[in-house]
């Protein structure tokens, strides 16, 4: 018999507790070591690029780097007084350098984002900057009367900020003024807030449609014998093996004015030949095509959860006098909720960032935020604004995730 106050010792005399901790640590370290390559991979190719890109939404040193003297001269100017001769002198000096270094295009593009039409003002002035004589303010105004316009200087002041909330403001349909205050955009330029709302609306509707269509199929698959349910599973998975582009294009052939659906409607007298339904190149088209494409993402989690629900529970409920409906609603349905949660979250998050399908079938009112991000990435080259839109979207999705966690509970989710 050993005294209970004495610690248990291992063979080599060290306390067993410490020995255990050591071996636990070793196995944990080994597990971590095995996961390390993946972790490093994710950080290098996923986390870092995203963070680096998102940085662009608040960081823009282009003007400050290329026009250093001007930026410094403007640092203390609050935009309420007339621009000074000192600022004009610095500007002309910077323009001479920018012309020589061929960076004037970058500067002009940057300021043009703040005030349309300043691009040519900058390139033209830079061409003559070398010949200008003091007083520079007069020389500038003589070259182009737009230099007398304080708006031009305001635009430069805004552009000279290195860390700027201007892009995030723009992503929320707001505009930053030279003095740093933020006001709402004029009405005919407001676009993003409405687009975010529409993206939410489309994603929400697609999730609901997927649930309504997917639940019965998953239920059927879970209750049929294995052979038949496997066949159904293959049918559900079949679209996964077809290119997304092909599936979307197939919907164009189905839904367009001269397409299969409309031809059938005309045959059955639901529409006249001259007045066919507009089922595509609008929101309807986006909803139909996206629901079809995302449906498997709803069915699979539902199916895998439903498969684990023992049929004996429903039988037991019925044997105790429950009707079919009560047995389903009170016994079966609550057990399938984790599958609904997983499927809905999966479909919603995929839908929010959807891009190709709305671009092809969305027309004008079926466009989503991703399409405007694409526009700024590829066409306008305003990557800062694209990053800001991405950041707003990311924050919003995080918020929804948090709400979901509070309301449904993330533990309540089951992917299989």
């Amino acid at each position: 018999m050993t005294d209970s106050s004495e610690p248990l010792l291992a063979v080599d005399g060290t306390p067993l507790k410490r020995k255990l901790a050591q071996s636990m640590f070793r196995s944990r370290a080994r597990a971590f070591g095995l996961a390390l390559p993946l972790l490093a991979f994710i950080i290098v190719v996923f986390v870092y690029p995203i963070l680096d890109f998102l940085r662009q939404s608040v960081y823009d040193a282009r003007f400050a780097t290329l026009m250093p003297a001007t930026s410094e001269a403007m640092a203390d100017w609050d935009g309420s007084t007339a621009p000074t001769e000192q600022m004009a002198t610095a500007l002309v000096a910077d323009l001479v350098v920018a012309k020589k270094e061929k960076t004037i295009g970058k500067v002009a593009t940057r300021v043009n984002r703040e005030l349309s039409g300043t691009r040519s003002l900058f390139t033209k002035t830079a061409r003559n900057a070398k010949k200008m004589k003091p007083p520079y303010m007069e020389a500038l105004i003589k070259k182009d009367k737009d230099w007398a316009d304080i708006e031009t200087w305001h635009a430069m002041k805004t552009a000279s900020r290195i860390f700027t909330p201007a892009y995030i403001a723009a992503a929320l349909d707001r505009k930053m003024l030279a003095d740093g205050s933020i006001v709402q955009q004029s009405e005919e330029r407001r676009i993003h807030v409405q687009l975010f709302a529409r993206t939410m609306e489309i994603s929400f509707l697609v999730t609901i449609f997927c649930l309504i269509l997917g639940y019965p199929i998953a239920f059927l698959m879970a209750s049929l014998p294995l052979r038949t349910s496997n066949l159904l599973l293959i049918l559900v998975l079949l679209p996964f093996w077809t290119s997304l582009l092909v599936r979307t294009t197939a919907w164009i052939a189905m839904l367009q004015a001269q397409g299969v659906m409309n031809d059938l409607f005309v045959v059955f007298g639901l529409a006249t030949d001259e007045d066919r339904f507009s089922l595509i190149y609008n929101k309807t088209g986006t909803l139909i095509a996206m629901t079809h494409i995302l449906l498997p993402f709803m069915i699979l989690p539902l199916f895998s959860v439903m498969k684990t629900i023992p049929p004996s529970y429903v039988r037991a409920a019925k044997s105790m006098g429950a009707t079919d409906w009560t047995a389903f609603w009170r016994v079966y349905f609550p057990q399938s909720v984790p599958g609904i949660g997983a499927g809905a979250l999966l479909v919603f998050i995929l839908a929010i960032g959807y891009y190709i399908t709305p671009a092809l079938v969305g027309g004008q009112d079926g466009q989503m935020v991703s399409n405007i991000i694409d526009f700024h990435m590829r066409k306008s080259l305003n990557w800062n604004l694209a990053a800001a839109l991405g950041l707003v979207m990311l924050v919003f999705v995080m918020f929804l995730f948090w709400v979901y966690d509070r309301v449904v509970g993330i533990d309540n989710m089951k992917l299989g």
Binding site: K102, T103, I104, G105, K106, A108, T109, N112, R113, S116, G117, T118, R119, S120, E188, R189, R190, I191, Q194, L195, R198, Q256, A257, Q258, Y281, A359, G363, Q364, D365, Q367, I372, F375, M377, R378, K379, S380, L381, N382
Partner: protein, 363 residues
């Protein structure tokens, strides 16, 4: 052990292959263009003759416009493309952003009639970084087998009461705003003066508003002929070469209306840091010579950017009866009300008008 040997052999082979290439003094460039019938015309008229003349090869890649890929390549310091066919506005923008090499127009070969290159090319053919190869235009077209009494003017395009049916338009303010003003009665010479004012922009959008509900928007050049062929739209704006090829190549009965066509040029630009910049420059000079530009006109109805090419423009490559001259946007009969695209205006105002156009689109 075995693996190592394999790896070493592979490396040796690769090294051997590289030195073999270097030894034969031929190289390869990657030329990027818009694909479809347009790239085919370039392969026939530029790439093949260049390969025959120099032994160098051209790898052809397709893209869908915009210079984001170029920007990404240059900023990452990993440039794989050498030369790219861009719209003029993108040529200017890319030059501003420092993505393209500067090109001195005086270094280009003289025309076949001896005219210096700077005088031989049509006005507006040069930017600091790019040289024009063809003149293309945005026109509108309809299917004459469906619409028998077809539209004649741009005003008809905007008149949905007299000419019912859907309209196809490019999803971009460019060309649409110009055409809208022309339809509203602005003379082709005054379009950009009017568009430079706020009232002018309002007026253009108001005109677009009048057909907004009937519009099907397209983005890629291949879409409008398809929309017409499917009967999705009664008439659509399009690039004239695409409509021409549907008519000449596929026997469609499309009619082009040249009223208020918006003229533009496509240009070659060489990417800064291109792996084969010197070869690419040689290719650029070769392909923009009089004969090559004239040869290209046998494959697609885009006008050569050199004046000296005009006498050499012959017939369609597969149909000796089809004279290409009258199919060109630059043919005298088609030019009467043409609107030459003002790239300076678009470089200045593209951001603002795009913003306004996008907002108008979703409201």
């Amino acid at each position: 052990m075995k693996k190592t040997t394999l790896l070493l052999t592979g490396t040796a082979l690769a090294l051997g292959a590289t030195s073999a290439f270097a030894g034969s003094h031929t190289g390869s460039i990657t030329a990027v263009s818009w694909g479809g019938a347009y790239t085919v015309s370039q392969i026939e008229a530029y790439h093949k003759p260049w390969t025959a003349a120099t032994g160098n090869t051209v790898v052809s890649e397709d893209y869908s416009g915009g210079i984001a890929e170029v920007k990404a390549q240059v900023e990452a310091g990993n440039v794989t493309w050498d030369i790219i066919d861009v719209e003029k506005s993108d040529a200017v923008r890319g030059c501003d952003e420092g993505l393209f090499m500067e090109i001195d127009p005086t270094s280009l070969p003289a025309g076949s009639d001896g005219t210096a290159a700077v005088d031989d090319f049509i006005p507006g053919s040069f930017t600091d970084c790019a040289v024009a190869n063809i003149v293309w235009s945005t026109i509108f077209a309809y299917d004459s087998s469906v619409t028998t009494n077809g539209p004649k003017t741009i005003a008809d395009f905007f008149n949905v009461d007299a000419f019912p049916g859907k309209r196809g338009l490019r999803k971009s303010p460019k060309a649409n705003l110009e055409m809208a003003l022309a339809a509203d009665g602005v003379a082709s010479g005054d379009i950009y003066d009017v568009l430079a004012t706020d009232e002018g922009v309002d007026r253009a959008f108001a005109k677009l508003d009048s057909i907004k509900d009937a519009v099907v928007w397209w983005e890629a050049g291949a879409q409008p002929p398809q929309l017409l062929a499917d009967g999705e739209v009664a008439m659509t704006t399009a690039y004239n070469g695409r409509i021409f090829n549907a008519v000449a190549g596929e026997g469609k009965s499309f009619e082009i209306v040249w009223d208020a066509q918006v003229l533009d040029v496509d240009m070659w630009a060489i990417i800064k840091g291109a792996p084969n910049a010197e070869l690419a420059m040689d290719f650029l000079k070769f392909s923009t010579a009089t004969e090559q530009l004239a040869a290209q006109a046998s494959y697609i109805a885009y006008g050569p950017a050199r004046k000296s090419s005009a006498p050499y423009v012959t017939t369609y490559h597969s149909n000796a009866d089809l004279e290409m001259g009258p199919q060109m946007p630059t043919a005298a009969a088609n030019l009467a009300t043409a609107i030459p695209n003002d790239f300076e205006f678009w470089a200045d105002n593209a951001d603002e008008l795009n913003e306004r156009f996008n907002a108008w689109l979703i409201n």
